[in-house]
Symmetry: C2
Subunit: 272 residues, 2 copies
């Protein structure tokens, strides 16, 4: 058992949803948090180029850009427009210096979940050459199966590993988010199998039962997830990058961001 | 593709939560539904013996008794009291002629999910001789991973199959509920693997997103689940028993039960 390194702590902007880009950069600088997990909508405030400049001058790096994906669609034209949007996301990731674009695969557009899964694979394959050119790695993030109908047909780390393996590029890996994978009887075997291709690690906690479908995540230590065990497994699989704290929770959003950042640091050290 | 046999339709009492036992038996008799999936709390109205008599005289059979389980607990005394309660559930199943007791394994009592899973296995093993004596089969029902923290640490059919296989008794099998397993990339492989040990099949539908953690199930045809494909897979694995319609949904509960039964029959024929 080893304490986590504070230099790996990253604030994913989903944790402080009500703060804009400038406020988040200033807040993290004051709290001495060296990484931010950036969301695309937050880039609208300053644009990617100015955001990158502000990050640099604050000594903060983007750990990832959230998010691309959402590949399945009923028509070829719509699927192509999703891929085009993912290319813009790759551009934005490159512009802000984020090494990773997180992919949430998207839900099925009707009752054919196998077809949706095939469209996810086809979509990532179509996006991949562009990501390779721009030096951005794609992170396939399996989401909790409770999101299978509205967010992601990729729902297990085993499925994400198999998909990454079939795509067979150093520019595709997996993101491990404890909230999405903690329930899985195979999670430790699949983390080990992902050795060398883990490109993101996200933490929060599981409240039982979740108080809300989307906004029900807990702060680390408030729930049931074996956070340290999972973090050490991810470390043992060779991942030494930033650890993003990503807490979708209305009560956290309603708390002053300085308090949230202080709590996040404290709980990260105590539980991760 | 084959239409489902109406003689296999069973009304699980969770679908008509506001009706008591007498009303449910009378309603099913009028609607010519030959099976009822009985809940333990509904037995309090008449007691098991009188319930059995009323079922017989209406020409209706109990497809299963819901539910036993909830094995993990912090102390040996509490775990023993859970097993004792499960023995009473076995008695009740035998008394009403239900061939199957459905087991919902229970949540972890702290952050150690592996320990909770071990306690589930130990609990079923302790219960098994009593079930064998009374001629009641135990159905391990994997629940959707969204219930891992509050209802069941058994969350995949693969896990239930492995558990049933380790227990190695003709008196232990698995229950396949489409709501709990539809998202699983391995579901068809695991249904095939369960051949010969499927002792229950439950249907409803997945609304995206679910409108409520517990009471958000859809009526067949209103959601994303490939119901007929799953039913045919379960049939192909040798299951020819009753098909329970189990819809936890507040709006369904607020609908007059006669209307619910008519809708259930119509949707069962159209979608299952």
């Amino acid at each position: 058992v080893s304490d986590p390194d504070l230099s790996r702590l990253s604030l994913n902007q989903a944790t402080t949803q009500n703060s804009g880009m400038v406020a988040t950069i200033e807040g993290c600088a004051r709290a001495e948090i060296g990484w931010i997990g950036v969301w695309r909508d937050k880039l609208l405030e300053l644009g990617p180029v100015e955001t990158a400049r502000r990050l640099r001058s604050a000594g903060i790096r983007a750990s990832s850009l959230c998010r691309g994906g959402f590949f399945p669609a009923a028509t070829e034209a719509e699927r192509q427009s999703r891929i085009d949007d993912n290319r813009r996301a790759v551009d934005e990731a490159a512009e802000i210096g984020a090494p990773v674009l997180v992919l949430v695969s998207g839900p099925p557009f009707d009752r054919d979940i196998d077809l949706a899964r095939q469209q996810v694979e086809d979509g990532i394959r179509a996006l991949l050459p562009y990501a390779e050119e721009r030096g951005v790695r794609l992170a396939i993030e399996p989401l909790h199966p409770m999101f299978a109908g509205d967010r992601s047909v990729v729902v297990t780390l085993g499925q994400a590993n198999a998909l990454a393996s079939r795509l067979g590029s150093a520019s595709v890996g997996v993101a491990v988010d404890v909230y999405h994978v903690w329930w899985d009887p195979d999670v430790y075997a699949e983390i080990a199998r992902a050795a060398g291709s883990i490109v993101g690690f996200h933490v929060s906690d599981w409240l039982a039962p979740p108080p809300h479908h989307l906004l029900g995540r807990g702060v680390m230590g408030d729930g049931l997830i074996e956070l340290r065990r999972l973090r050490e497994a991810v470390d043992a699989a060779g991942y030494s990058g930033p650890i993003e704290v990503e807490i979708f929770n209305q009560r956290v959003w309603d708390t002053p961001p300085e308090e949230v950042l202080a709590l996040v640091k404290e709980r990260y050290l105590a539980w991760c």
